[in-house]
Symmetry: C2
Subunit: 743 residues, 2 copies
């Protein structure tokens, strides 16, 4: 085990930094990831890995190529020896030497294979993921949708425990954001008319590049085919040169930034064909990822299934602003389904065609992005990965939000406040804070209008996964809908007293301009009026000193001479009673399904059964998200105990605590194992009619509690009003050596 | 006010009972409704109405027609008098008599107008609905979706208070059904592949009949046009005869049962044209109401937005049965969006293109539909409207569920149990139990496979609205998916000991049959094998006594003679270890949006302001569903009080109680009015720093409570652990004559 976790990353980054295209880091961090083999029993070693540096890989590829050419040269030499009639002993010696060389080559090949397969820890990760996914599927946390009809790629059902986890996550989201931050929650339809998504840009730009099998019409994502080709070559073709390997790695790194033409050129260069048929492929072209439909029967009204929930909030801005008493800032929130008609979904539960989003749009005065509750998060300290660290090849580092804001790393207090709240939300759900980082977008990753963007990335067996995006989108969205709809999506700030403001006034003297420029007059007037304050004041100064000035009129593509008589420029004082402006929006957007999947991985571990003959699966969900809070078992099959179990179950249900009775005759150890595998944090075992034991899942500690106190104890600890440690203090430990603790 | 609420209904029904088509009652009950003018201040008079019986209307129409023809005859007579040169006095007398007749006619016309407009209480209902809907829209309970783009018919957003009500209703649904009944909740995608909806029948049968304007292509629902025509004639054309009026009413009553051809014929008969252009219309043809889309990019995989959530449960039956330990009965549940691409949505919030359903599929052994918790609901007594009462023209009556089951009115205990649970659910939400009835489907309303169906109907300003359907769908759905998918969606009952069962064994003797029937042998063999037990035993008896028997072979379309030698029929005893069967499913299906809309109407009332100068709106939501549980007001603008208000608000939030501060300088009376209009049940007014007042919305009672107890008191009463009456006992009343109670 080599703990140099980030060497590979650093090397790749510095290499890329020198390349002309540096817009690849996002992809890169996903591809090379910092994927870890996870030891579920010892979570503290999660961040280590088997590792051979890429430098080693490169030198192995070079040695292999050298060895190969030496072997070829020696082979030729032997043939020459033979044809020139050399002595047998001479030939034998040469063959012996050649065989030794071949052995050395095999040894290098083996080292290279080991190097490739260990970088990224692929096998260990795959095995871990398989263990998690198998458990999830067997216990119906999820079910491939429409399974009996052989399913549909990218569609999954939440089965009973998955559905309960989801509903708990959403309830906590509502408490943590909507209720605690006093947000205005809305609920808009999924079916959305085209005009809305035209304004938002989705109709034109929400696309992936696709290629078609020219004979069968089968469709593929162009970047997937190129990625598969490069990975396949890198992993399985030991004969490629170190230079070729570097080239392929570079292609993988810049994949997301290739244009359709560049992708098409690469596919052609590498001779990539349709994987299923080996037929030639079309050139890449954009495929819109929205599910399209028709609203109403006429066929005249195109609609789409919304790709995000945010647009429903933006179009309601005016009403929501009014509801909030025409005051800023305020936040609106929405939880709902969103859709993405993937060309060919991969990555299991992480890349799906329908998913639940929870989105917040916090509207704020662009001139004042302070946040009243900022001080509550300023001291939080966690892994952040600012732009500077990414570009200079450093790794994520622990920063306090307060430092990040005061050093200008995070753009403003409100953005920082939400980053902090997201951190609290995710870690309280049970996301391992060692495997959570906030990565800042690089300038080229962000839209031109965005002020700053941070992704909450969670490390999983697939690498670092973007689960929450927190973006300061400036006034872009409201402006886009104002332009398209004509509705003024703006806010007003009424001044306590009228304010005197200085306004630039440019008055072209049309008569003079007409005489001087005749037919071009209009363009000159427009150019004069379009000057900004600095340009105008410079012109004013020049006219006053020199009487005339050169002035470039772009629309005429020439420079003209402006005389003092042709324009008057002044600053006038005006009284204004209010300020009208388009608010900025800060948008935290949560991929609920991704968060839940990462939570599954972070919560999963295995431990040996008591007999030591098998590994048992456990999900260490906190009570907050556990699908069922409590199991209730009679120790043995016995009517009295079953009656008590029923009574306890009823009292738990009445208290709103989800619970599950298991009155099968299975051994208590097996019943514990079953319930551990569902992540149930507490198990009540009825072994008398007056008091019972409560067992905590991870510690396996047991306490004795009176039957009529059980519901209250479980409720308190499930709802987070006290911890298991508090409970342990209060109730006597149960230390029976009997069969009831065979797990 | 005439309290004969159901006379109209009875007459219509008995009239219809004589008509050949009696399948019209459902429509009828919606059209003529039992719509009531609602007095929000005195809910006890809700069920009364202004009323003139249809008999009066009919006799008025007849008098009017008689009067008209007398007038015409007299007119002719006068013309004859004139042309025959009668005396002026003779003519004057005749004209005078004619004018008297015309006055009488006008009087009858006025009576008839009054009769038409009062039946159904249309105006009062419309005014009440307008008041509710205006309040809902002004306070953002709902918002027409995409309003700034002029909206889309049939799509609505839930604004902040509406969204909170919805989320409270769903949370209670989860507690009341999923948790208390131990159901398996699932969450499946909206996007559904065609094969699933082909199996369920939706691809072929989920349609409405549509006509097109032959020139413009505008689309209309055929039944809407016919309905509009009939209503317009009945309401505004006083000249139609009583027979014509009866015919039009009959058409309205049978509207839902007309085939495309019948509808087309009626449209032609009445000369109905496109309402917008007066162009001719196409013949009616079925339009599928599902939103269609394509899954993936190839165009080869058609999908639909699901029209209901139930199919997601059926296709998962096998996994869910396994999850439940391969035991019946069990119920699965799902909450989610469903879609219906209406041709032209009407009825505002009741008929929408996207809506939330909450559905339960309770799987049960068809041979044992008893329910273990049946006794908990058997004594519930409420309005039921069984088939017999509908067909014999009686009205809904109060029945206990126990009676209904023991008298065979409700098919089985499990169905009855869910009817009872639905009753409890709706009334606990705040639905007025006087305006809630359970109406049984008539035989022709039910699918052929259904064993029994009941709708929970809630009376609103639109009439009685189906809000929950509770159907025993037998094994239909599981069988349909078994047939289509090949997956065996069945249950097993393992016998404790092998059971000896008698099985009918029919063994055709092929040699004899071949000789006798040659080429037709195969059909005869199949017909013999297809006999049921009775047919086979009858044949056996006949063969034993007479040696041969006539036997009709349908596939041959003739009767053949079967001799004793041709078939052996016996009953054999076999040992069976288990029974394999397709479970029956009992399906309660909740239209959440409709329930919420009816709840709004049932909760809305107006009361005069203290000054008596205006009517104030109030929603009397129970705390369970209220969007905000508590308002917090400082009595006057004052930093100390605001600090206390903040502190109380924080403590409420921490306890998970939604609350809203109002620190504006508005008078306390106006602030109470604002919060009453949102249905907030409790208001805390800070008028000192140690103790505050809590006011209950409907009674306006106030109590004094210490600041640090407020959150606990509000939590208890909001979560239903105690009532306001309990609280009144415990805390001193606040009886200030000061300005803080000006409402």
């Amino acid at each position: 085990m080599n703990p140099h976790k980030n060497i590979y990353f650093i090397d790749m980054l510095s290499g890329l930094h020198q390349s002309p295209i540096i817009s690849n880091l996002k992809t890169l961090s996903v591809i090379i990831g910092t994927i870890s083999p996870i030891s579920p029993i010892q979570p503290q070693i999660i961040l280590r890995r088997n590792f051979i540096s890429p430098m080693a890989e490169e030198s192995l590829r070079r040695s292999l190529a050298e060895k190969q050419s030496t072997i070829e040269a020696r082979g030729n030499a032997i043939r020459e020896l033979k044809s020139s009639g050399a002595s047998k002993s001479e030939i034998d010696d040469a063959v012996k030497a050649l065989n030794a060389l071949k052995l050395e080559k095999t040894s290098i090949e083996n080292q290279l294979k080991a190097s490739i397969s260990s970088s990224g820890g692929g096998d260990t990760n795959d095995a871990f993921r398989q263990a998690v996914v198998n458990t999830l599927e067997r216990r119906l946390f999820f079910i491939p949708s429409f399974k009996i009809y052989r399913g549909v790629a990218g569609l999954y059902d939440y089965g009973p425990p998955g559905c309960a986890v989801k509903s708990n996550v959403l309830a906590f989201w509502r408490q943590h954001f909507v209720l605690e931050e006093d947000m205005l929650e809305v609920d808009c339809p999924c079916v959305t008319p085209e005009v809305v998504l035209k304004a938002s840009g989705h109709v034109d730009k929400f696309t992936d590049l696709m290629v078609k099998d020219e004979k069968t019409g089968n469709c593929y994502r162009a970047d997937h085919l190129l990625k598969d080709y490069c990975k396949e070559k890198l992993e399985n073709d030991l004969s490629i040169s170190a230079d070729k390997a570097a080239e392929l790695k570079h292609v993988l790194a810049i994949l997301d930034d290739l244009s359709g033409e560049q992708l098409g050129a690469k596919l052609k260069e590498y001779g990539i064909v349709a994987p299923d048929t080996k037929n030639p492929l079309s050139d890449p072209y954009p495929f819109n990822l929205m599910f399209q439909t028709q609203i109403g029967p006429s066929g005249a009204s195109t609609g789409y299934m919304r790709p995000e929930t945010a647009q429903g909030i933006f179009v309601n801005f005016k009403d929501l602003y009014y509801y909030n008493g025409n005051k800023l800032p305020f936040a609106a929130a929405q939880i709902g389904q969103a859709f993405r008609n993937e060309i060919s979904p991969r990555q299991g539960l992480l890349r799906v065609r329908e998913f639940t989003l929870a989105e917040i749009e916090h509207f704020v005065d662009p001139d004042d992005k302070s946040h009243p509750k900022y001080s509550e998060v300023a001291n939080l300290k966690f892994l952040m990965f600012p732009r500077g660290e990414q570009l200079s090849g450093q790794s994520a580092k622990r920063l306090s939000l307060g430092e990040a804001v005061s050093e200008g790393i995070v753009n403003n207090q409100t953005l920082a406040y939400f980053i902090g709240r997201v951190y609290l939300f995710l870690t309280r759900l049970g996301i391992n804070e060692e495997r959570l980082r906030f990565r800042q977008h690089l300038p080229n990753e962000m839209a031109h209008y965005a002020a700053d963007c941070w992704d909450a990335e969670i490390e999983s067996s697939y690498g670092w996964i973007e689960c929450v995006g927190i973006a300061d989108r400036s006034a872009y969205d409201l402006r886009a809908h104002t332009d398209k709809s004509g509705a003024q999506l703006v806010a007003q700030e009424k001044f306590a007293a009228p304010k005197e403001v200085e306004k630039l006034v440019i008055t072209p003297v049309k008569k003079e301009l007409g005489l001087a420029f005749k037919g071009s007059q209009k363009m000159v007037v427009e150019a004069l009026e379009a000057m900004n304050e600095k340009e105008a004041m410079d012109m004013k100064a020049a006219l006053e000193t020199k009487g005339e000035v050169d002035f470039k009129v772009c629309t005429l593509e020439k420079t003209v001479t402006i005389k003092k008589s042709m324009v008057s420029i002044s600053k006038e004082k005006k009284k204004e009673h209010q300020r009208v402006f388009t608010p900025s929006v800060i948008e935290p957007s949560f991929g609920i399904g991704r968060i839940i999947y990462c939570l599954y991985e972070h919560s999963f571990y295995m431990r040996p059964s008591k007999a030591g003959d098998e590994q048992l699966n456990v999900f260490r969900f906190p009570p907050l998200v556990a699908p069922i809070k409590c199991s209730v078992f009679p120790l043995v099959q016995n009517q009295q105990y079953e009656e008590v179990a029923k009574q306890i179950s009823r009292s738990l249900t009445a208290a709103g605590i989800s619970n599950k009775k298991d009155i099968t005759g299975t051994s208590i150890g097996k019943r514990y194992a079953r319930t551990d595998e569902l992540g149930v944090p507490f198990a009540v075992t009825v072994d008398s009619t007056s008091s019972v034991t409560i067992r905590e899942r991870d510690s396996k500690d047991q306490i004795r509690v009176n039957v009529d106190e059980v519901a209250a104890v479980i409720k308190e600890v499930s709802e987070g009003r006290c911890t298991w440690a508090d409970i342990l203090q209060k109730y006597p430990a149960h230390t029976s050596a009997s069969a009831d603790d065979e797990n």
